[in-house]
């Protein structure tokens, strides 16, 4: 059984802790059952399912630490793993940045586990694929998609009193639909904790519409355009920015949050005042684990408040050195928005470009968070509140920092890749060349 209950997990962890002869010991116990189905050319290409249950032991002597892992759970194997971690620790060099292990922590309740997802079986996956492939075949379109589901648990315990346990599930689905002549391509993606919310047919129908609507593109000159970024497009750039909010890099002067003359831009207004980004592990739309990988509690944190940088995330070592609270990096974020739908944003746009998604985003300059990438699978010209025609894909060179200063409108947030992101209307978005890719 790959998914242990809280009591079962604690029993194993306590047993392992009792074998320890080290100064400190931490035990991680993780299990999951994950499955997937992949299809292309309207036919299933691969499908599989794996279960995994493994235990990792980190033993510490002074500032030396060693880790060993195992996937056997008899007493002899558990004890052997503890001894092995201790041997590795004794041989390890001192880690000058080692932080003593955490004691007991308070965690909030989050609802990150859904029975519907845990119950997924090969039949469910096959049906989900069929519901996506079948409508495409009927319209002479070609479907390529991927569904991946996972149900698992994570537990941590140590000899300082820490014990944390969480169960979670996830299902991720993506579909690309192409026209038979290869001139049109559309895309849709969905992710949930609760698989009962997933409708692969409905998502596929959106990708089908985009594929059919994106044939016969017109080429627009590269330049600065007002764009409407669907949440799937906006999320990638925002995620890259959120991953760059490490405090140590900023303090060390090698981050977009570093300041001329030294210090950081914490407290500075870097974005449009309508931009507020926060994280909340208990948010019902994107529930995540109430603890980080090292056992720190995940709490509601405001990262950017009305355009002002409010928080950065810290390792425990760096937080202690700086004398601040060790706020861990969040596992999902929420960009607060309004009430307007994507359709409302389009309706309110005189001239602009609708972007379904971006592709192959890479950092160009970490100093300014400049990224490059391309539009893909549905890029359309908007005029007088209506989609007029499909346009050729563009390459962009843009920074999310600049983008979040050029905000025209913010729609209603929806779930995208584990975050809540609204569709965004942005002026002066920089497209630098055209691509022939469909």
């Amino acid at each position: 059984m790959a998914i242990l209950s809280k009591e079962e997990a604690k029993k194993i962890i306590d047993k392992v802790l009792a074998f320890s002869k080290a100064d400190e010991i931490s035990v991680g116990l993780n299990g999951d059952r994950s499955g997937n189905i992949r299809y292309a050319r309207n036919s299933v290409s691969t499908s599989g399912e794996t279960t995994d249950l493994s235990l990792s032991v980190t033993s510490v002597f002074g500032k030396k630490s060693g880790t060993a892992t195992i996937n056997e759970f008899d007493d002899a194997s558990l004890e052997k793993t503890v001894r092995r971690a201790e041997e590795i620790a004794k041989l390890a060099p001192d880690n000058p940045e080692y932080m003593p292990m955490l004691g007991a922590q308070q965690f909030q309740e989050t609802q990150s586990f859904a029975e519907s997802t845990a119950a997924i079986n090969p039949g469910f996956r096959a049906q989900a694929a069929f519901n996506s492939i079948d409508p495409c075949i009927k319209k002479d379109l070609t479907a390529a998609g991927f569904l991946q589901d996972s149900a698992g648990f994570s537990a941590i315990g140590n000899n300082k009193g820490l014990f944390a346990y969480n169960k979670s599930t996830s299902v991720d689905f993506s579909i690309t639909v192409r026209t038979a002549d290869g001139k049109g391509s559309g895309y849709a993606t969905r992710d949930y904790n609760d698989a009962s919310k997933l409708d692969t047919k409905a998502a596929t129908e959106i990708a089908m519409q985009k594929a059919l609507a994106s044939v016969n593109t017109k080429a627009l000159e590269p330049g600065k355009y007002t764009v409407i970024l669907e949440p799937t497009a906006a999320v990638d750039l925002l995620q890259n920015m959120m991953r760059s909010m490490d405090a140590r890099n900023a303090d060390e002067g090698r981050s977009f949050l570093g300041k001329k003359g030294g210090g950081t831009r914490l407290g500075e207004k870097l974005f449009d005042e309508r931009i507020t980004i926060y994280s909340d592990p208990a948010n019902p739309e994107i529930p995540t684990s109430p603890f980080a990988g090292d056992g720190r509690a995940q709490e509601k944190v405001t990262w950017i408040d009305k355009g002002v940088v409010k928080n950065m995330y810290y390792s425990r070592f760096w937080a202690q050195k700086q004398g601040v609270k060790a706020v861990p990096a969040p596992s999902g974020f929420i960009l607060a928005g309004g009430t307007e739908s994507l359709a409302d944003l389009i309706k309110g746009t005189e001239k602009g470009i609708l972007v379904t998604r971006f592709w192959y985003i890479r950092a160009v300059d970490p100093q300014t968070l400049l990224y490059t990438g391309l539009t893909r699978d549905g890029t359309f010209y908007i005029e007088n509140g209506q989609i007029k025609y499909p346009v050729k894909n563009f390459r962009f060179n843009e920074s999310p920092v600049i983008m979040l200063n050029n905000v025209e409108a913010i729609g209603k947030p929806v779930r995208a890749a584990g975050n809540l992101v609204p569709p965004l209307k942005i002026r002066d978005f920089t497209f630098t060349s055209l691509s022939d890719a469909v």
């Binding site: 991680g28 994950s34 997937n36 299809y39 292309a40 050319r41 309207n42 036919s43 290409s45 691969t46 499908s47 599989g48 794996t50 493994s54 990792s56 880790t67 060993a68 892992t69 996937n71 092995r84 041997e87 590795i88 390890a92 060099p93 880690n95 000058p96 940045e97 096959a126 070609t142 390529a144 998609g145 991927f146 690309t176 192409r178 290869g182 060390e252 002067g253 090698r254 977009f256 001329k260 003359g261 030294g262 870097l270 592709w359 192959y360 985003i361 890479r362 160009v364 300059d365 100093q367 300014t368 990438g373 893909r376 390459r395 920074s399 600049i402 630098t432 060349s433 022939d436 890719a437």
Partner: protein, 539 residues
């Protein structure tokens, strides 16, 4: 994803596979070939009895040792082992795959039955039955990467001392920060198939690398310079830094062939990162580019390697990596000018010291070399057994690979390399002929569209060339081009004395994602009139 072990939690950007073990454990031999043959026969027989018409079995022991340091300290040392069996079958004309770490007769039989069960379940959706290109069984064979020093036998202390020396020299040279890493991989793979092949292979790979950062408090600027090493299919001898493998470039610059001087490169890196802080920002426009092999390798990888993967061309990667502009009709025309007449691109899995070199691929096909682009014309693709018939060939190219026993094998890129020029020419000779150009070294930012038309590449260091001479360093450089346009602007090649390989150690593809390692050889090459943009911004 499944297969990601504890190391993945410690260093999220690096795909560590398997269980953490001690360094000594990595030196323990796995079970011998005779024992593996017995186990694989259990799988072959079990699958056949359940209705499989073809079966292949991979018993794999995958060893990794990764070292991570910053400045004067070791951040982490990962030793990992992953051991198990993957069974792939064809039943009812459909593929099925299953894998298990329970490598006992009972576990193997159950795993084989599951693979057949999955094949039969998925056959309901199958439109065309799988057809494999014929591959005669090769019997019992062995192959080993020709290493001189097994990296796993070198004491950890020696490796840590090397990295501390690298970091120390970079810091002494003015670096504000430095991180350095060593990656060692050993794949002990046993392949057996119902064709009658029983192949035991021992594959070694190595990658030493670092990043030097210089910060300038007054201006708030920071610049980095990554190592210009290449991952290799070699042992620890790659780190010997022998003088005969160094290639002297212009302005005292050094290139490394099959031996790398990590300390020397760190000293240069610190100097160059400092220089980048005050380097002149580039004026956007058209330039002739002189591209070092350590840079050009990635351009070859992205703009030739990926678009000539037959599975992409056919649409199997449409939902993720994408398809390809190099469509079958272009290949069939026999006239599609992918590049200028100077462009000769070969695929191979045999070149010594490369990441792609093995004896047999993961479907038991002996490895070879073949042309992809000949005198500028697209002439072939990279294919595996179930797709090669589409391009009218009877024999697979031997490009099948799985990154672990628990991953299903599929088409992965072989080494894809640009042949050097036949006329005698050094880098200095080449630069002499350039009026307005940029000399680019090292792997930088890279992005290309889903059909591989439009790309943008950066680099590690950029030198301005004016009237045949290097005049100084440039910053904020990236070039944007279209693949066909770019390769047709290929104007001059340095000769074989300048030939070196670049490598990608963690090349990603597929859903669920898998990594593979691949090399790209070339000599320094000139491309005329390429569009250069300025990437400087203010925030």
């Amino acid at each position: 994803m499944s297969g990601m072990g504890i190391g993945a939690l410690m260093m999220p950007s690096v795909p560590v596979i398997g269980q953490a073990v001690s360094a000594e454990h990595l030196l323990e031999p796995g079970i011998d070939a005779a024992a593996k043959k017995k186990l694989s026969e259990i799988a072959l027989n079990a699958a056949k009895s359940k209705g499989a018409t073809y079966t292949d079995v991979r018993i794999g022991r995958y060893l990794q040792q990764f070292l991570f340091t910053r400045e004067r300290q070791v951040q982490n040392i990962v030793n990992a082992e992953s051991y198990g069996i993957g069974i792939r079958v064809i039943a009812n004309g459909t593929w099925g795959f299953s894998a298990t770490s329970d490598v006992t007769p009972d576990g193997i039989a159950k795993c084989a039955a599951t693979a057949v069960e999955i094949a039969k379940a998925n056959s309901k959706f199958q439109k065309e039955p799988v057809q494999l290109a014929e591959q005669k069984g090769v019997g019992d064979k062995t192959w080993k990467t020709p290493i001189v020093k097994n990296a796993f036998e070198i004491p950890i202390r020696e490796k840590v001392d090397l990295l501390m020396n690298v970091n120390g020299k970079a810091l002494d040279g003015g670096a504000s920060f430095v991180t350095s890493n060593l990656f060692f991989v050993n794949e002990q793979k046993y392949f057996a198939s119902s064709d009658g092949s029983f192949i035991d292979q021992d594959v070694h790979r190595i990658w030493p690398t670092f990043t030097v950062t210089v910060t300038d408090k007054a201006s708030g600027k920071f610049k980095t310079r990554d190592a210009i090493s290449s991952p290799m299919g070699m042992g620890y001898e790659y780190l010997d830094g022998v003088a005969s493998e160094k290639i002297a470039g212009p302005n005292g610059l050094v290139g490394y062939r099959n031996s790398y001087d990590m300390v020397e490169d760190a000293i240069t890196a610190a100097k160059q990162a400092k220089e980048k802080i005050t380097a002149k920002t580039v004026q956007a426009g058209k330039y002739d580019l002189v591209l070092d092999p350590n840079h050009l390798g990635l351009t070859i990888h992205e703009s030739v390697g990926h678009p000539t993967e037959l599975d992409r061309v056919l649409g199997y990667e449409a939902n993720y990596a994408g398809t390809s502009f190099a469509t079958l009709d272009k290949w069939q025309s026999k006239t599609f000018a992918y590049g200028s007449k100077l462009v000769n691109i070969v695929a191979d899995k045999t070149q010594p010291h490369t990441l792609g070199a093995v004896g047999y691929d993961d479907e038991g096909v002996p490895c070879k070399e073949w042309d992809i682009i000949k005198d500028g014309i697209l002439v072939n693709y990279q294919a595996i057994r179930d797709q090669v018939k589409i391009i009218g060939e009877k024999e697979s190219h031997g490009c099948c690979y799985a990154d672990n026993w628990n991953s299903v094998q599929f088409q992965r890129m072989p080494n894809i390399s640009l042949k050097p020029g036949t006329e005698k020419r050094s880098v200095m000779d080449m630069i002499k002929g350039v009026e307005k150009g940029i000399y680019i070294i090292g792997r930088g930012s890279y992005s290309i569209d889903q059909q591989r038309y439009n790309f943008q590449f950066g680099g590690q260091v950029f030198y301005e060339i004016k009237n045949g001479e290097i005049t100084g360093m440039l910053d904020d450089v990236a070039y944007q081009s279209n693949t066909q346009e770019f390769w047709n602007s290929c104007a001059q090649l340095c000769d074989k004395d300048d030939y070196r390989t670049f490598g990608s150690f963690f090349d990603g593809k597929g859903q669920p994602g898998q990594v593979s390692a691949v090399s790209h050889g070339s000599s320094t090459t000139r491309f005329n009139g390429v569009n250069v943009i300025n990437t400087g911004r203010k925030i």
